[in-house]
């Protein structure tokens, strides 16, 4: 059997490895658009921060891929899929035949359509090349503006600040990481980053990047001008679905798949950020790897189904552990908060009908599993509500 995996990010690489392990006689090809070997995209921030080397980010050395019999094709962007022929066509016109195709093409960082967005000095924060550009800019010191206070934006800001730049984060919401954190945890994080010299403009929106030959400043909607020789856009991602769309596969926000991660074409699977399951796309590495496993099993003929777990996000931002799961916005839910601001510890639990439906842990995420279990099992917490925020060690449930 010939299996072609398009995309050598974490999900694609994982899927290729599992297929090679499970189907000894099969021909597994892994085609990546970037020139590098498969690397840990999540660790780019460590590269930026100087905590890792490029070599240290490589997850699948060539020897390892070879020993598994995987054909690795770096710098091989795919231009089209010919479903009728069962072939993928590379940008150079090469045709790669497949019996099964796995789309793991990930997503593209969004470049805001602002005046000046194409000026030199404006970078995205997505891949190794972006990081190289940022490092080069940082060597000159000066000012940087990071547009976007999500996880990636914060990581970029921390890295650049560490490299000696004066960094301002421009964020549209009143606190950073609003998809994972409530305002109070966001405030704790803001304070912590502030102690590292990072400034915030929020809520604020950028209307233009100013400069002639290169970026010089960022203009906000209120007219304020923030000097910036480097502008990093980290405002979100767009799933890479052009290939699938042109191949005629049903698309929502991304390639729609069933529980086995199979698209409408039984020969084509989609995993990771380019897949849409049950109307939802994922943006985190852990479920993407699970999807890779499921797709690999399905292709080898096993019954396999991916079920979304409660959305749990475990992150490390600037040395602080942050974890959230379930609902974040507290509309109508009952809310338990436990905070120790001096120790930078914070917990917020959302309850509905005596059940836990969402949790944010900041600073101390050791009890994450306990809360995730409560959210997914929908068990009643009424019997130990007063102890709930202190974690499982304090909960003595009535027998």
């Amino acid at each position: 059997m010939r299996v072609l995996v398009i995309g050598a990010g974490p999900a694609g690489a994982r899927c290729a490895v599992r297929l090679a392990e499970r189907l000894p006689g099969a021909l597994v090809t892994l085609a990546g658009a970037e020139a590098a070997l498969p690397y840990d995209r999540v660790a780019l921030s460590r590269l930026l921060a100087g905590a890792a080397t490029i070599e240290g980010l490589i997850t699948h050395p060539l020897a390892m891929l070879r020993s598994l019999g995987i054909r690795y094709r770096p710098a091989t962007p795919i231009a089209a899929i010919d479903r009728a022929a069962g072939e993928a066509v590379t940008a150079r016109g090469e045709r790669l035949p497949y019996d099964r195709l796995v789309l793991a093409s990930g997503s593209t960082a969004i470049r805001l359509p602002l005046p000046g967005a194409d000026l030199p000095g404006v970078v995205l924060y997505r891949d190794m090349e972006d990081v190289r550009l940022m490092l080069r800019a940082a060597q000159r010191g000066g000012h940087a503006v990071v547009i976007g206070g999500g996880l990636l934006g914060l990581e970029a800001a921390v890295g650049l600040a560490h490299r000696g730049m004066t960094v301002t984060i421009v964020h549209a919401v009143g606190w950073p990481m609003e998809r994972q954190l409530d305002p109070a945890a966001g405030a704790l994080l803001t304070r912590r980053l502030g102690m590292r010299g990072i400034r915030f403009a929020m809520p604020a929106s950028t209307v233009a990047v100013e400069g002639e030959a290169a970026a010089r400043a960022v203009r906000l909607s209120d007219g304020a001008l923030i000097p910036a020789e480097l502008v990093v856009m980290a405002v979100g991602i767009r799933p890479n679905v052009a290939l699938a769309r042109e191949a005629g596969l049903p698309i929502g926000r991304a390639v729609t798949v069933d529980d086995a991660m199979r698209s409408a074409d039984p020969a084509i699977y989609a995993i990771g950020e380019c897949a849409e399951h049950g109307g939802r796309c994922i943006g985190l590495v852990a479920p993407a790897l699970e999807q890779a496993e499921v797709a690999a099993r399905a292709i080898t003929g096993e019954a396999a189904a991916w079920a979304p777990r409660a959305d749990a996000a475990a992150l490390k931002v600037s040395g602080t552990a942050v974890w959230s799961a379930g609902e974040i916005a507290d509309d109508g839910a009952e809310c338990i908060t436990l905070r120790d601001e001096a120790e930078e510890r914070y917990r917020r639990l959302l309850l509905r009908d005596g059940r836990l439906v969402g949790a944010v842990l900041y600073g101390d995420t050791a009890d994450a599993g306990f809360y995730l279990d409560l959210i997914t099992s929908r068990r009643s917490v009424a019997g130990f509500r007063a102890a709930l925020a202190f974690g499982p060690a304090f909960v003595r449930e009535a027998a």
Binding site: E334, C335, T337, D340, E341, R385
Partner: protein, 855 residues
């Protein structure tokens, strides 16, 4: 300087105390009352010496004043009252806390020179019925027996006495005697199953007010069994009507039989008998039975009235009750009044008895008292119908309060405040319940401008023109005058005669050892007394106010083991407060009307109301509610139970019926319950319901409940303890009404605030309290702080043995390891080896905790 011999200022046992200059105290092994023992209160006396809130300077109208100005004001107030109302418009209300010399001076001022009988003592609340009973039976107020009789008896009957808590040292003597001689029997007659019942041979849960009925039945039973007496009045006594005892006939029969067949029987009675509208009859009903059996003044036999206060007896000796003259002299014997007039060289001797306490305050409330001097007592709290008493105090134009504390409800109301000497500073004598006169000696300098009460009295007397009669150089001179006065009745027989002490030199007075009266001649010592006596008929009368459908329960008030009166002294000692930190009402679970153990309940009577923590107590007879009388507005303004107590009094003794008030029990709905631990006192009016509890050096616990929305209360209370540079740890669950906060600075705990909709949802306070002692709390503790307990480790346990700080858990563990007697528990843990007042509670644990079978 070596140790100074003095006497404990608490109860009527009158224990000797050895005080070292550095404030360390121990029981005096040579004092006959205690032979070295002390109870929990006595043991912690050293911790009460440096009381916060001492009254240190005279005050007039709320401002500091010199003694000169203050005394002028007092004299002027009394002069005005005399002018406007005559002698009957002046009054003194004094206390069993006074020394005999102070008492003597007060009585001399009132009866001898102001010319009024209006001097009454808070002994009216405690002893008046026993006094009246003694006078009816013996013609004189005397206790025939001595403490040793409790050890020599074969049967000890406690009537209305929780001796284990109220007179612990005497109870320990009794228990030691029973341990040495197991054939000795103990019977407890009490509507409550008190701690004194632990290990008793028989508990008779008598209906409140049923004592007269019981002893009338006993008298007839004894007569049927063949006991006879030549003393007058037996026939009418035998004919007196019975009433309801509420007792199981088999229990009753056992008691009757034991009493009839045990020649060496002591019947010890106290407040439970005295505080009744039939209190005097109760005393006489008891005395009648001893008279019929000839068991009075015999070794191991006699009726024994035990007093509440250290010097109730001394007050009676000097005549500081409104219906007595000095030195057991009597208006009814005109020659004695005449002798006293001559002795005092006064034209003003009061013509007859004055107003007893409740009548006195009623008169004040009606505007008939122009000047009232209150000394060392807190009537605003301790008297029944206390709301009305407060009004009376407010209405009195010249209200003078002499006290050593500034923090008393009565002192608050006074126009003139005079700083009195505290225990350890004052010098004089006291007489205990077995007629032993002991010296109370000073062993530390007076604080501030505090002066002796007798001195203040003499100063005022001088300003009123009677200086010559009050020109004493010191307490020894007063004592000599008092002692000589007790010989005035001669040649009439009078047991109270200490004229043998009238010529003590100053040095002899200073060195006087404990001496039992009578002392007719120098060098003598009194012993048991067998006075001529008469039977007094005691027809049963039910309590004054019967329960009704509207007020179906009966309120009894009483005392706790580790508190004293209105807590002016003990309330500030954390170790003592720990035993029962909150004002609580005990009730049989079946009477609780669905109110949970630990909830707040309102007790209402036609006279007033109070809100207290409800405790289920199966040891309480059905239909009763027991409430301690200690709490004041200083500690728990909503829990002042005396505001609800009916103002009924005994018709003879005038003693209030504190042990029987019809009440009803209602829920006290609150929006939230909580507690606030803080490093300073935030007062006792923090919330709709507050109990203020000192728990350690600079740590205060505030138990709270309120009707405002909990989030508002949380914000309000947090703001009170806010401090610069300090940071909060917060738990908030507004939907569930849970709010918790801890304030820390550099890891040191400054305050804790916990609110919940239900008291049961609050954690124990012990561990949090423990954390306040830490210089900086660790990370695990910090994470667990608002949970109120560490995730692992033993649950916090209450301290049972105050002296050695032993917790219930430690005691139970020793029992589980095989310690199956209180003595073995004491060997293993030291619990109960100090004052011993926790031993009954240890005994109760022994019956509850399974002891392993010997292998």
């Amino acid at each position: 300087m070596g140790e100074i011999r003095t006497t404990c200022p608490y109860c009527g046992v009158g224990c000797g105390v050895l005080a070292a200059a550095d404030g360390t105290l121990r029981g005096d092994p040579e004092h006959p009352a205690n032979r070295g023992r002390l109870c929990s209160k006595g043991t912690t006396l050293g911790e009460t010496l440096d009381q916060p809130g001492r009254l240190l300077h005279p005050e007039v109208d709320g401002k500091c004043a010199s003694w000169e100005v203050a005394l002028d004001e007092v004299a002027e107030g009394f002069r005005k009252a005399l002018a406007e109302h005559g002698p009957q418009g002046t009054a003194l209300y004094v206390s069993g806390q006074l020394l005999t010399e102070d008492y003597y001076a007060a009585n001399k001022l009132a009866k001898g020179f102001l010319g009024t009988g209006n001097i009454d003592s808070n002994s009216r609340l405690c002893m008046a019925s026993a006094v009246a009973g003694h006078r009816r039976a013996f013609g004189e107020d005397l206790v025939p027996g001595i403490y040793e009789d409790l050890e020599l008896a074969d049967l000890v009957v406690l009537v209305g006495s929780n001796l284990a808590w109220c007179h612990p040292v005497l109870f320990q003597r009794l228990q030691a005697a029973r341990a040495a001689r197991p054939s000795m029997r103990l019977v407890v007659i009490d509507p409550r199953r008190t701690t004194s019942c632990e290990g008793a041979d028989l508990h008779l849960p008598i209906a409140p007010g049923g004592d007269v009925a019981l002893f009338n039945i006993l008298l007839r039973h004894l007569h049927v069994r063949g006991f006879r007496s030549e003393a007058p009045g037996l026939d009418t006594a035998l004919a007196a009507a019975d009433g309801e005892t509420g007792l199981d006939p088999a229990l009753l029969a056992t008691f009757l039989d034991w009493f009839a067949t045990t020649p060496r029987t002591v019947t010890l009675f106290s407040q439970g008998a005295n505080q009744s509208s039939a209190g005097t009859d109760k005393a006489n009903a008891i005395i009648n039975c001893h008279l019929l059996t000839g068991r009075i003044g015999q070794p191991g036999a006699g009726p024994f009235s035990i007093t509440g206060q250290p010097n109730a007896m001394g007050g009676r000796e000097v005549g500081a009750l409104s219906n007595m003259l000095a030195g057991h002299l009597d208006w009814d014997r005109p020659a004695e009044a005449e002798a006293l007039r001559g002795y005092w060289q006064t034209p003003n001797l009061a013509a007859g008895p004055g107003l007893k306490a409740l009548d006195l305050f009623r008169a004040a409330g009606e505007g008939r008292i122009g000047a009232l001097w209150v000394m060392a007592t807190n009537p605003a709290v301790s008297l029944p119908d206390a709301g009305r008493i407060r009004e009376a105090l407010r209405r009195t134009p010249c209200l003078v309060a002499s006290d050593c504390t500034r923090e008393s409800d009565t002192v608050d109301l006074a126009r003139i405040r005079l700083p009195a000497l505290g225990w350890g500073e004052k010098d004089g004598t006291v007489t205990n319940s077995e007629r032993v006169i002991s010296r109370q000696r000073a062993f530390r300098p007076a604080l501030g401008e505090a002066r002796p009460d007798w001195w203040a009295i003499a100063q005022v007397a001088a300003r009123l023109g009677w200086g010559d009669a009050f020109a004493w150089a010191g307490p020894s001179a007063i004592f000599r005058e008092h002692a000589a006065l007790t010989g005035l009745a001669r040649p009439a027989a009078r047991a109270f005669d200490i004229s043998g002490l009238a010529d003590l030199s100053d040095a002899e007075y200073a060195a006087m050892p404990p001496t039992r009266w009578p002392v007719v001649r120098r060098g003598e010592q009194g012993g048991r007394l067998s006075p001529p006596a008469r039977f007094v008929p005691t027809p049963y009368r039910p309590p004054a106010n019967a329960p009704s459908p509207a007020y179906p329960l009966v309120l009894l008030t009483g005392r706790l083991r580790d508190q004293w009166h209105t807590m002016t002294r003990t309330g500030s000692v954390p170790r003592l407060m720990a035993h029962s930190p909150e004002p609580a009402a005990a009730i049989h679970p079946a009477d609780a009307a669905g109110l949970a153990d630990g909830s707040l309940a309102r007790i209402e009577s036609p006279w007033g109301e109070a809100t207290l923590r409800l405790r289920h107590d199966p040891g309480l007879a059905r239909g009763g509610i027991f409430v301690p009388m200690h709490w004041t507005s200083r500690f728990a303004p909503s829990a002042r139970i005396n505001a609800s107590v009916n103002p009924a009094v005994d018709p003879i003794s005038g003693q209030p019926e504190l042990k029987h008030t019809p009440v009803r029990l209602l829920p006290a709905p609150m929006a939230w319950h909580g507690f606030l631990l803080a490093r300073r006192s935030l007062g006792a009016d923090l919330a709709d319901w507050t109990a203020l509890i000192p728990v350690g050096a600079a740590l205060w616990r505030h138990e709270l409940a309120g009707t405002e929305p909990p989030a508002e209360a949380f914000a309000r209370l947090r703001a009170l303890v806010e401090e610069p540079e300090a940071a909060w740890v917060l738990l908030e669950d507004p939907a569930a009404g849970l709010h918790r906060a801890a304030l820390l600075r550099d890891g040191r705990l400054l305050a804790c605030l916990f609110l919940a909709p239900d008291p049961a949802a609050l954690p124990r306070r012990d561990w949090l309290i423990f954390l306040f002692a830490e210089a900086a709390i660790g990370s695990a503790a910090r994470r667990a702080l608002l949970a109120g307990a560490l995730a692992e480790g033993p649950a916090p346990s209450p301290t049972l043995c105050v002296c050695h700080g032993v917790t219930e858990a430690v005691i139970c563990a020793s029992i589980a390891r095989g310690a199956n007697t209180p003595a073995l528990v004491g060997e293993a843990t030291r619990a109960g080896t100090g004052c011993g007042s926790c031993r009954p509670e240890i005994a109760a644990l022994l019956t509850k905790t399974p002891v392993p079978e010997p292998a």
